[in-house]
């Protein structure tokens, strides 16, 4: 199971980094989302991978899964969700104000200058 989780985190991080480096805001948003997914799985894995262990107290249990990473992941998901929503709204605002979805808004400023001349 370790290799599967490690592979999933690695692939998601790689895709996330690649997409974040793209010039368009939509790819950047997707990339940041993928990075957030990767880090959530990573946080889970940091509580050690166990199967069939209870989280809360159980009289018959021989061991416990670590409950703390689950709380951390829950917080991280909520924050990432809020941030992504905000970023999408901001990207839309930038799209409407700058005229395209390039992260630097470069093309439009050239085009506008050209139109003025």
């Amino acid at each position: 199971m370790e290799w599967l989780i490690a592979l999933a985190i690695g692939v998601m991080t790689a895709c996330g980094v690649f997409l974040t480096l793209r010039p368009h805001t939509f790819s950047v948003v997707l990339g940041l989302t993928l990075l957030a997914y990767a880090v959530n799985v990573f946080l889970f894995a940091m509580g050690r991978l166990t199967i069939g262990q209870p989280v809360v107290i159980d009289a018959t249990a021989t061991g416990y899964a670590d409950p703390l990473p689950q709380a951390l992941v829950l917080t991280a998901i909520v924050i990432a969700f809020g941030m992504t929503a905000f970023l999408i709204v901001l990207a839309l605002k930038a799209r409407s104000e700058l005229g395209n979805d390039h992260v630097d808004g470069l093309h439009i400023s050239n085009k506008k200058n050209g139109a003025r001349r």
């Binding site: 940041l32 946080l43 940091m46 917080t75 809020g82 905000f86 970023l87 990207a91 930038a94 700058l98």
Partner: protein, 504 residues
């Protein structure tokens, strides 16, 4: 007061929600907000008074014992920074009200309070994951404040700022996750304790996580090569917000002092102070580039943003020197640079408004209304900011340089600080002569005179410079005891982990 430790965090949170209920009644919002800020000022003063006794005040949320629950820790450094934030915010708020900045869009006051909530929380928390949460709170509020009022350039700068900080948050989680996986705890004091018993084979991973955390704090503090977001964001933000943001870079520095200084402190064995060399080296590069940026700026606000970067770089060097003397000097310089940078952002906005169409660009403009007053204030702030005698910037730099003499690289450090200081003095002299001496009526119409209240806010922040000189002796005594408390990691660990706290 049992709950005093939590009040600087709770008051802005409650205040933010209260302000939501005022709807769009701007007068009511302003009065309520000023009342809240006065309350926060009193609370911060009381907190500092408590911290001056030298005790650590703990607040265990939900009465959970550390290291299992989240704990707020109030010590000298936290109390000082909370009070500093409140003073700076008060100045910025008065300026925002005087210039009607708060009226340009909804919810300025709410976001302002939530920003303070995040800042105070970050200064007080003793838990690494909680620090992440407060970072997110202050960032989310800062996104809203940065974009307040709208505009194309502001949106573009805001987009870059948001994206780089979201990447920073992801890296923060990776670092926190790794540290938790290795050390099995998130409480900073507990982490520091466990570092002492770290097996040798885990040291590499923990060092990697620690340095990754340094990258995250480096983004916040605008350390080379992660500072590129700062000039655009600070230059485009509304002036009152930019002034408040002067404390934002200091949050990154505080996090380095607190987290790295405690967890990677003396007890960490082979990993002790792994961050210092990096801070020193990157601080020197940042300072050199910041000085070049100050020289190359095309507008006053961009120039002030680079001056903020230079002050951060000086602080990075001082923290990287890693001696008690240097740390005490850095705390003095931190207080000075935060308040003066705030004043300078506000003054840049006053000048920009008075120059009407020229704004803050470096082209000869019209004769400003009150040019004598504004020009004199500019000269005083420039003297303080560039570190010339007799104002506080000079004393801060002298203390840092004195501490640097004990270091092996003293020649390089002293050279970088002095040469960059000279470059900044030349640039500021050039800026001043361009804005005030080359002003002529033939260059166009000047804007309206600035409101007295706006100038008063600048002057109030500026009084920090002479005050820090006049009271330099008691204040340096305070920074020295603060440093002694900071470096005594063992006392911090014992105070956090062994007491039952204040709650019954």
């Amino acid at each position: 007061m049992m709950h005093l430790t939590a009040l600087p965090v709770l008051l802005p949170l409650i205040g933010g929600f209260l302000l939501l209920f005022t709807g769009r009644n701007i007068q009511l919002q302003r009065q309520l907000h000023l009342a809240l800020m006065l309350g926060l000022l009193i609370v911060s003063g009381l907190a500092l008074q408590t911290a001056l006794t030298g005790q650590y005040s703990l607040y265990q949320l939900g009465n959970w014992q550390p290291p299992f629950g989240i704990v707020l820790v109030l010590d000298r450094l936290s109390a000082m920074l909370v009070l500093l934030t409140t003073l700076l915010a008060l100045g910025a708020l008065v300026y925002a009200i005087a210039t009607d900045t708060d009226h340009q869009g909804p919810h300025f006051h709410v976001l302002f309070q939530l920003q303070l909530f995040g800042l105070n929380g970050a200064f007080l928390t003793g838990d690494l994951f909680n620090l992440f949460v407060f970072f997110e709170v202050l960032l989310l509020a800062s996104y809203g404040l940065l974009l307040h009022g709208g505009g194309r350039l502001r949106t573009r700068a805001g987009l870059h700022y948001v994206v780089i900080n979201l990447i920073g948050s992801t890296l923060f989680l990776f670092a926190v996750g790794t540290l938790y996986g290795m050390l099995g705890t998130l409480n900073i004091a507990d982490m520091a304790q466990r570092m002492a018993q770290l097996p040798a084979e885990d040291q590499g991973v923990v060092a990697a996580a620690g340095l990754l955390l340094l990258v995250v704090f480096g983004i916040k503090a605008a350390m080379f090569p992660l500072y590129l977001w700062l000039p655009a964001a600070y230059a485009q933000a509304p002036a009152a917000v930019a002034a408040l943001f002067a404390i934002m870079t200091k949050v990154g520095l505080y996090a380095i002092i607190r987290v790295h200084g405690t967890v990677f402190g003396e007890q960490a064995g082979a990993l002790a102070y792994i961050h210092s060399q990096w801070l020193l080296l990157l601080g020197m590069v940042t300072l050199a580039l910041a000085a070049l940026g100050v020289m190359a700026s095309r507008g006053l606000r961009e120039q002030v943003a680079y001056l903020v970067l230079a002050s951060v770089a000086t602080l990075l060097i001082a923290i990287g020197l890693n001696t008690a003397e240097a740390l005490a000097a850095s705390l003095y310089y931190l207080v000075h640079s935060t308040l003066i940078a705030g004043a300078m952002f506000l003054l840049a906005d006053i000048i920009s408004r008075s120059r009407a169409a020229m704004q803050d660009q470096f082209i000869p403009g019209p004769v400003l209304p009150n040019i004598i007053l504004i020009g004199s204030v500019f000269m005083l702030i420039a003297i303080a900011m560039t570190g010339m005698p007799p104002l506080s910037g000079f004393f801060g730099k002298v203390m840092i340089l004195h501490a640097a003499l004990a270091h092996d690289w003293y020649a390089a450090i002293v050279a970088v600080i002095l040469v960059s200081g000279l470059l900044m003095i030349i640039s500021m002299a050039r800026t001043g002569s361009l804005l005030f001496y080359k002003a002529h009526e033939s260059h166009g119409e000047a804007g309206p005179a600035s409101k007295p209240l706006a100038v008063a806010a600048v002057l109030a922040l500026l009084t920090a410079a002479p005050l820090l000189v006049v009271f330099a002796q008691p204040f340096t005594a305070f920074t020295e005891t603060t440093t002694a408390q900071l470096l005594n990691t063992q006392a911090y660990i014992e105070a956090v982990l062994s007491t039952a706290g204040d709650l019954p």
